[in-house]
């Protein structure tokens, strides 16, 4: 009964939004607009609730003296710093210079340094993949090796031949695989969406 109700609600909401997309009608537009506002409200409430939960979780960790004390101190301290910068008297909120400085001088460099680790993690993954020895990992590493050879910066006729081969690999087999996968994803996304709307879930195995 409960599942039927939620599935019905989801179906009705989706139908109203779809009809509003296709049909120009003031009443329908008003109804769809109200639904979208409710969704935005839900997302905002989720964000605030999530932040509060995160803070509470780490404060509890600190109070209990858990193993990740320093992580909790850093997180709670960072949250406090941003909140103080944005909410102190005279602050202009999220556009306040202090908040902007914290974002541009601390958060952006930290995020950039994290993403700089991707290459190292990729090398580690290659090593792990080869040690696991699965067929997929071996083929992936072999294909990556072939592409590295094809993209070697060599001049003259051999270099031109390698560049042509690399372009062919990118445009023909690689594009075919990607498009095939994307078509498969699109089909199964439709099936998954239908299953959700029909309320077809997984049972206990």
């Amino acid at each position: 009964m409960r599942r039927s109700l939620t599935a019905g609600l989801a179906l009705a909401t989706g139908t109203i939004l779809l009809l509003d997309l296709l049909i120009l009608n003031p009443s329908l537009e008003l109804l769809a607009g109200g639904l979208v506002e409710l969704l935005i409200l839900l997302a905002a409430a989720a964000a605030v609730g999530g932040a509060a939960t995160l803070g509470a979780h780490h404060l509890r960790d600190l109070a209990r003296g858990g193993p990740d004390r320093w992580g909790a101190v850093t997180l709670v301290g960072g949250m406090g710093l941003i909140l103080v910068a944005g909410l102190r008297p005279g602050s202009t909120g999220s556009s306040d210079p202090a908040v902007n400085w914290l974002v541009s001088a601390l958060l952006v460099p930290i995020a950039s340094s994290l993403f700089a680790l991707v290459f190292l993690f990729l090398l580690g993954a290659v090593r792990r993949g080869l040690s696991i020895g699965t067929r997929e990992a071996t083929v992936t590493v072999a294909a990556a090796g072939v592409m590295v050879v094809l993209l070697l910066p060599i001049g003259g006729a051999p270099g031109a031949g390698l560049a042509t081969a690399a372009a062919w690999v990118r445009d023909v087999p690689l594009a075919a695989v990607f498009r095939g996968l994307l078509i498969g994803i699109a089909i199964l996304v439709s099936v998954s969406a239908a299953r959700i709307l029909l309320g077809v879930g997984s049972a206990d195995d």
Binding site: L42, A47, A203
Partner: protein, 280 residues
């Protein structure tokens, strides 16, 4: 601006006109054979393990064994729902990957509950955390292990893709089983490397094609592209699966019947269906 009735009449007329101008390229038998192809295809993708699944997607059938080994070695299990979330500002395809990961989480959670392995779920979306919490409660209810529920937890690690990568890297690597399933982006390698590399056994799954290399290299069980959406169907019980397949089949048979009947009617010189349907 035309009203809806005129638009419907135009649409029906357009289809009828197109049918009238058409003829079969391959003859009736070949045409019907070709029409059967999408029917079989849809059955194939919608139908779970009962008849069509030829292999164990993502090695999900081995989760129980991996959990048993984790229980023997006294280690824990961890699941990441990717970094796309459900209410985060990202594409619909990414969000659906998180939704598709929930049945996989349910499967892993039931195995962990049966084996008595503490399970930790991390996500960077509060709504996904809420749903995961419900999945864990349901897993302990279904396996009749409420006393073990205290060992399972869901953690919202904060907003943002860098946070997802950083939290995965910062977690202690004593997991017997690690699962990463859901939408990933540029931080994907950090999440996969942070969770799967130090674990004894792991599954990686994403439909983000730019991140397909990560699971292929890091994970013991892999779900790439459509497989992430197919795996939950494989886990489904036979009754629910049959329901979806029957619904899809009926839709297809109805479409085929309408096309055939309309074609025969036009070929027999019946009046214009558009005029008949719109009373004009």
């Amino acid at each position: 601006m035309p009203n809806i009735g005129e638009f419907a009449a135009w649409l029906v007329g357009l289809i009828a006109g197109a049918m009238e101008d058409s003829s079969m390229r391959l003859g009736p038998v070949s045409t019907i054979a070709l029409l059967l192809v999408p029917l079989v295809l849809l059955s194939l993708v919608a139908r779970p393990r009962a008849r069509w699944a030829g292999r164990d997607l993502g090695r999900l059938a081995a989760v129980g064994h991996a959990m048993a080994r984790a229980a023997e070695s006294g280690t824990t299990a961890i699941v990441s729902l990717g970094s796309a979330g459900i209410t985060r500002a990202t594409g619909a395809l990414d969000r659906l990957q998180t939704v598709a990961a929930l049945p996989i989480l349910a499967h892993v959670a039931r195995a962990a509950a049966r084996a008595g392995v503490p399970l930790r779920v991390i996500t960077n979306d509060p709504i996904a955390a809420l749903l995961a919490e419900g999945v864990l409660i349901d897993a302990h209810r279904r396996t009749n292990t409420p006393e073990r529920a205290v060992n399972s937890s869901v953690e919202f690690v904060g907003e943002g893709r860098p946070v997802a990568g950083a939290s995965a890297m910062a977690l202690p690597g004593d997991h017997g089983v690690a699962v990463v399933a859901g939408g990933l982006a540029e931080e994907g390698m950090l999440v996969l490397g942070g969770l799967l590399a130090p674990s004894s056994w792991g599954i990686g799954g994403t439909a983000a094609m730019s991140q397909a290399v990560g699971p292929l290299l890091e994970a013991d069980g892999v779900m790439i592209g459509p497989e992430l959406f197919q795996a939950p169907a494989d886990l489904a019980g036979s009754h629910d699966a049959r329901l979806a397949v029957h619904a899809a089949n009926r839709l297809l048979w109805t479409a085929i019947a309408v096309i055939l009947i309309a074609s025969l009617a036009v070929a027999a010189g019946a009046p214009d269906p558009a005029g008949f349907l719109t009373s004009r």
